[in-house]
Symmetry: C2
Amino acid sequence: MSDAEADRTFHALADATRRDITRRVLQREQSVSSLACRYEMSFAAVQKHVAVLEAASLVTKKRRGREQIVHANLDALRRAARLLDEYEQLWRHRADTMAGILAETGEES
Amino acid sequence: MSDAEADRTFHALADATRRDITRRVLQREQSVSSLACRYEMSFAAVQKHVAVLEAASLVTKKRRGREQIVHANLDALRRAARLLDEYEQLWRHRADTMAGILAETGEES
DNA sequence: CTAACATACAACCAAATGGTTGTACAAACG
DNA sequence: CGTTTGTACAACCATTTGGTTGTATGTTAG
């Protein structure tokens, strides 16, 4: 995952409205306007939030008649989760190395 | 995880420098200045990045003499990863429900 | 004690963010 | 056909962000 991609993904997730939109479309894909009516803000504001999610590939839009249907992209979510897992692996590697060094000194004959 | 907490966490992760700092301190805790010298930007800028990570509980600082040692907080990372996993579960639940409905109609006597 | 070091923090600035309203246009309904 | 609906997009605005420099403070080394 590139830096720019991670930037876009985490930035998209760093907003409660966008996380809520993500949850909604994970459960059921729906049009931008059916999403918009759930929130206090204007339609244009919701449209912008969807655009941010789309730029991060967290959702995609497909036209159906005059509606634009928003679908979740599970793969992008998994890539983000995986990046966090990799961070944990860094820590684990350090822990292993330290344990190894301790074991080594303990083994000194 | 509260909305505000998720906001802070993902916002903190939505910057390449901050992710890099996170990786470094996961591998080895170190002082703010030893981190700062790795980047082109000013010391104060790095200090601010660390503050953002700290506000998100992704790192903590502990004073050691005149230095401030930055430690990674693995738990906060795990909480973020878990939130993403919950999103995947939402999707999975929908998939299961749909599969159930299909099975049900197929079972009609 | 003094000098150098590590940090903290305020003030400032340009750019990005998150919202608004208004306009335009295509698709669907009656 | 005209009207409503769903979307797109530009212009604008307040606030936040990400950087800078400068100053102050505490801590260690000599």
